[in-house]
Symmetry: C2
Subunit: 239 residues, 2 copies
């Protein structure tokens, strides 16, 4: 299949389009400074928060709890983390503000330019585990030019569950092979590929920091492999 | 409430943002010409097709049939119309192309400029009875700068059902009073207002042609009343 037959690019967002680690660390450091909370490193806090992400979605995937928006899962995980760090005395609005750090993530340096170029030729859809409000607020904050917000809250399933990809293509009114999953994570692309999606790997070697050991390269024969979105736009003929 | 407290504008699309009547007529005329179908006026065909729109959604609202995407309702109505006009001998791809005339509607002359200005200050969400693929393809065709596609397929209800508005605000993570329904139709605004939405009426006096007798003025004390999206952008302080 050639690039001209691909109609939509569906994007993983956390890590692929935005740098959650540095952004959440920055938000956490600012929050701790404002509230006189000492001795907690923002990067460590961001990493610990993120560690709870997949296990909380796994409870939904396994049917242990009904579909729950990521904002709510993030908040459950944040409450657990604040307790673990013995951080108390915060009011609801303050905790909610910190929880919505995930709405204020910054893009990687190439994301806005690369996506803007890709948008001239393709439908750009988020296919993220983030909920709609999170994705919309992040796009406004970061200047991300999505055509449509899809992903977990629309498809009612968390990746890499097959139905997440199937429902995404269906919402776009496209066969899966007209959609290309675009992600920095091998497992996301493999799962999309199993449902008939095309695949594009974009390298994000420091998503988890300088010692990252996972997803440091494309481990499968994906349709496109690029070092960033600008290179992907070049490969797909988007000037 | 002042304009600065409104976070999102939620838009009716058919008639408010795009001129379905002229656009479907143009598509129908081109289709009839290509297939040698004589004696049917495109405008008449568009108006007859549109007459079947609300009754078909009413079957969903009444619970007579389960939630069904507008593309599918449009197709059921088109099949009925083709039979009524004794138009036969078309293959599936041809009928599907005509059905997707609704994906290729043109904006009113002020829509793109007005929405582009409004987008600088507000989240722009579709709150249309159109399905996701229809809205995305229309936006690509017409250059409509939506931040997020909401509406029937996301909220699983057809306006003016209360749940359509309630679920829309919920998806945006906003209280209804932070959302402003923007429409050329009095009944849509009244229904949104009952759920706590702010309201903006935008006049489209020829949506149904030169003899339009409905929605020729704002019939209630809406928060904003404008002759087009450029005037609305002026009123809302969007340069």
């Amino acid at each position: 299949m050639t690039a001209t037959e691909i109609k939509a690019l569906t994007f993983d967002v956390f890590g692929t389009v935005v740098d959650w680690r540095s952004s959440v660390a920055r938000e956490a450091d600012a929050f701790f400074g404002k509230h006189g909370i000492k001795g907690i490193d923002g990067i460590e806090f961001a990493m610990e928060w993120r560690k709870l992400y997949n296990p909380s979605m796994e409870r939904v995937r396994a049917g242990e709890i009904p579909f729950t928006k990521l904002d709510v899962l993030h908040r459950m995980n944040l409450d657990a983390l604040l307790a673990r760090y013995n951080i108390g005395g915060l009011d609801e609005a303050e905790i909610d503000w910190l929880n919505r750090a995930w709405h204020r993530l910054d893009p990687w340096p190439d994301s806005v330019e690369g996506l803007t170029r890709l948008k001239r030729k393709f439908i750009l859809a988020t296919q993220s585990n983030g909920n709609i409000a999170l994705m919309v607020n992040m796009a406004k904050h970061a200047g991300l030019p999505w055509d449509v917000i899809l992903g977990s809250e629309v498809v009612r399933h968390y990746k890499p569950c097959p139905q997440a990809y199937i429902n995404c293509a269906d919402a776009l009114g496209l066969p899966p092979e007209a959609c290309m999953m675009t992600a920095a994570h091998n497992n996301d692309l493999v799962a999309a590929s199993r449902q008939g999606f095309r695949t594009a790997f974009v390298l994000r070697p420091v998503e988890y920091g300088p010692d990252q050991h996972k997803d440091t390269k494309a481990e499968h024969a994906f349709d496109y492999i690029a070092k960033d979105f600008i290179e992907l736009a070049d490969q797909l003929g988007c000037p």
